[in-house]
């Protein structure tokens, strides 16, 4: 069963991986996205993720279910919201499949697709202020509300 969760607490890898990998699966592939200390040529002090929650968790689960159907694998997706520092995990994809090819492909698919389809936005705090990042564009953000 596909699982998807959006939380405001740090990643617990054991809990995530416990959701996948039954004994008949020979491959486990885990992708973790973490906060980078630079972006658009600037130092990043912190990042904040905000979501449109009524749709975000639903969309995340749809991505997981879709991958399961296409590759016959098991998928657990995780996304963190709130303020994070460089080095913190913000997103995780865990996939298990009978063989490694499906596991790699499904894992790649999940991270690429969730970035496009799940309504979550990032705010980067750099030396020159805070910016909303939307696709390729950045917009100035007011200070913390």
């Amino acid at each position: 069963m596909a699982s998807a969760e959006i939380v405001d607490t740090p990643l617990n890898r054991d809990a995530l991986e416990a959701r996948i990998a039954p004994d008949e699966h020979g491959a486990v592939c885990v992708f973790i996205g973490q906060v980078r200390n630079h972006s658009r040529g600037k130092q990043v002090a912190s990042l904040e993720y905000r979501a449109y929650m009524p749709l975000a968790e639903k969309q995340l689960l749809r991505v997981a279910e879709d991958a399961e159907k296409r590759w016959g694998c098991q998928v657990a997706l995780w996304h963190r919201l709130g303020i994070m520092k460089p080095g913190d995990a913000s997103v995780a994809v865990a996939v298990s499949a009978p063989h490694r090819a499906e596991a790699f492909e499904a894992c790649r698919y999940c991270i690429d697709t969730l970035k496009a389809l799940v309504p979550i936005w990032k705010r980067e705090t750099c030396p020159d202020g805070t910016w909303w990042i939307e696709g390729e564009e950045a917009f100035p953000a007011s200070e913390e509300r």
Partner: protein, 383 residues
């Protein structure tokens, strides 16, 4: 935001007076008095309630404290109009002698409870013939009503009976106006018998209300067969099913087969100005407030729809949540344009955003309805 509607959007219609009574059937999970308190809280000026469990035959007499609490709540809320709805089990036209007897006893109980609570009207459906002869069933119904009225008259009961128009589902009686008229004539007790018109039911029964002409014809027919003077209560419900479907499925005002305009016409019709309007639409706890507010706005001359818009990403800088009144039949595309004109910070919204309505993605052509929750979603950057 300020209204997007032009001033005086209902040409030729006088602004309705403040006395139009509009409310809802309130759930009684917290005791009878809670119906009044919660009704008042959501802005009702009329409340309908069950005075007993609508799926039970017998009820113990109301406790003194319950009656006192109800009277206190009535004083506190100053609700100008109350009515009760009877149990679903009651069939005053039942062919089976035993069921008929139980129905008559139970309905007497309904009237007695209403009287004890000071509720002037009990709404009842007209029963069903159950394939055992419609004419005989109507005769039995009339006999039931005459008897019950006589007996309760004698006991000093003043609560009246409002016979409700039905959808004509199954073998139910009362879906043709002439049948209602015949029963009224047969009972002949003007003070204590009247009619409740349910818009969903009459529409499902085949009486159209969607255009000006249709409404006039339906009202004329009602007046000829039943008499407008007998009309005591209106149940304002939209219909999930089509005209003449004879299937009774209530829908939120403006969201069903009847649509918004006929309800505006209804609550502004001077001929019905004195008749309280009660909604019995789904999702009472969340949506009664929306439907009641909508009817009140329509009565006051507004034709717009109220929606809530959540702005996401950098557009949230313009205020994350907007309450907006839009003209009827505004599409998401038009909303995007209205938003861009409203605030410079929303420039570019139409080009880049996807939209969600009620928590699902929606096409630009989607027409917005009362109470819709819209979200404007710029390209995401999660991960």
């Amino acid at each position: 935001m300020e209204s997007a509607l032009p001033e005086g959007s209902a040409p030729g219609e006088p602004p309705s007076n403040q006395l139009r009574l509009i409310g809802a059937h309130m759930p009684s999970s917290g005791g009878l008095s809670s119906c009044l308190l919660s009704g008042r809280e959501i802005g009702c000026t009329a409340v309908q309630l069950f005075t007993g469990n609508p799926r039970q035959w017998s009820h113990p007499p109301l406790a003194e404290e319950e009656i006192r609490a109800f009277q206190n709540a009535r004083e506190e809320t100053a609700l100008p109009f109350l009515c009760a709805h009877d149990s679903y089990l009651i069939n005053l036209a039942a062919p089976d002698a035993d069921v008929l007897d139980r129905s008559r006893n139970a309905f007497r109980g309904e009237l007695e409870r209403a009287h004890a609570l000071g509720i002037p009207w009990v709404v009842t459906h007209m029963g069903a013939h159950l394939e055992r002869g419609e004419e005989e069933a109507v005769a039995r119904l009339i006999e039931s009503l005459v008897r019950i009225l006589e007996e309760t008259d004698a006991a000093g009961c003043t609560a009246g009976i409002a016979l409700e128009t039905t959808a004509g589902q199954g073998t139910g009686l009362g879906w043709r106006f002439e049948q209602l008229g015949a029963v009224l004539k047969g009972v002949d007790h003007q003070q204590r018998i009247g009619v409740c018109m349910d818009t969903c039911h009459i529409f499902a029964a085949g009486y159209d209300l969607r255009t000006e002409d249709a409404w006039e014809n339906t009202l004329k027919e009602f007046d000829a067969q039943v008499g407008l003077s007998a009309l005591r209560i209106i149940h304002a419900n939209d219909s999930k099913k089509g005209l003449g479907s004879r299937v009774d499925r209530h829908e939120h005002i403006g969201k069903g087969e009847i649509g918004l305009k006929p309800f505006a016409r209804l609550v502004r019709d001077a001929r019905l100005q004195h008749v309280p309007v009660v909604v019995e639409t789904p999702d009472a706890h969340t949506m009664h407030q929306v439907n009641v507010a909508l009817l009140q706005r329509l009565a006051a001359g507004g034709t717009g729809v109220f929606v809530e818009v959540e702005l996401c990403g950098h557009f949230s800088e313009a205020g994350p949540l907007l309450q907006m009144e839009l003209p009827e039949n505004t599409s998401l595309q038009q909303l995007a344009e209205i938003l861009e004109q409203k605030d410079a910070r929303l420039a570019g919204l139409s080009a880049c955003c996807q939209f969600a309505v009620n928590h699902e993605f929606a096409e630009r052509g989607t027409l917005l309805c009362e109470g819709d929750r819209v979200a404007a979603l710029p390209p995401s950057s999660g991960g």
